[in-house]
């Protein structure tokens, strides 16, 4: 299957928008900012950290989750290209 530019850019834009909506932004008020869709790949806080259970909070960059998110992005691109080829390109 040939990958087209327009649906690919659209898929990337849609993925970024969904990621931004799905993420939480609480670091400025001492909570966690969690970025990533569907899995959080980056989590950080500017608040006071409790050393006792910080390991359970999974702070930092998570490479595994990032790669899975990229896989979902690839599926987005494939899906958008399929829709493009099947329905929109003919018109």
């Amino acid at each position: 299957m040939r990958i087209h530019t327009n649906p690919t850019l659209l898929a990337i834009a849609a993925f970024i928008v969904i990621t931004l909506i799905y993420s939480t932004y609480e670091a400025e008020s001492d909570g966690f900012t969690s970025i990533g869709f569907p899995l959080t790949f980056n989590k950080y806080t500017y608040g006071k950290i409790d050393p006792a259970d910080i390991g359970l909070a999974h702070i930092g960059f998570n490479t595994g989750n990032f790669l899975l998110d990229m896989l979902v992005l690839a599926l987005f691109i494939l899906g958008f290209n399929l829709i493009w080829i099947k329905y929109l390109k003919k018109q």
Binding site: S29, D30, I49, D50
Partner: protein, 230 residues
Amino acid sequence: MEQKGGWTVILNEYGMTIDVLLDLYMSLCDSTTVKKINLTDLGNAIEKQLKNTYEISYDKLCYTTVNIKNGLDYLSAKKYVRPVVKRVQVRIKLHQRIIYNINQKLGNEHLVDVRDANKLIGLYGKVNKIGGTEIYLKETFIPSIIKGLDKNTIPHEFGHSLGLYHVDEPWVWIKSMREQWNIPKMIKNKTNIMFGGAGGKLNDKTSTTITPEQMNIIIENYKFGRLNLG
């Protein structure tokens, strides 16, 4: 400037003095499963720590308009702006009540909610948003707050509730230019309450002060509707 519930900032100006009253209606709730927190003691500790941090006095440069009447010197009447230094005195007044369920919170009343450790993993406490009305505290740290061993967490979280940002947070200048401090300013004000936790500058016992500039920001935040945001 009057708003129902939550924070109310009342300014009374007389002569060379400006009285600032930070008035807060709040409720305290213990949402932990075991419910063994003494909320009366916690309320007293909150009041004591907020008074210790926020009741400050400082000099502020103000500008007043002066009218000069025409007189014997045949000069025409005119107005001019004169700089004057006024003394600002800040007081804080808390109206607290204890509730047994967070649903009992009234209107724009602020909520201090003590939560189980597993609801605030990795944190001491947090506020729902900058200028927000909900403050969550981790139950693990309540005994040290009540005993006075931790004098920072309460003023810090209430600082967020008063619209203050972390002074050492990257990119904070986008939201509030004056709250992005440079290194000399951080060194000068090393006991400030609003350092971020990750920077290692906060100390539970000694980080208890705010600057006059931060107090002016709080007053402006109230004026421009950036407090009691729900």
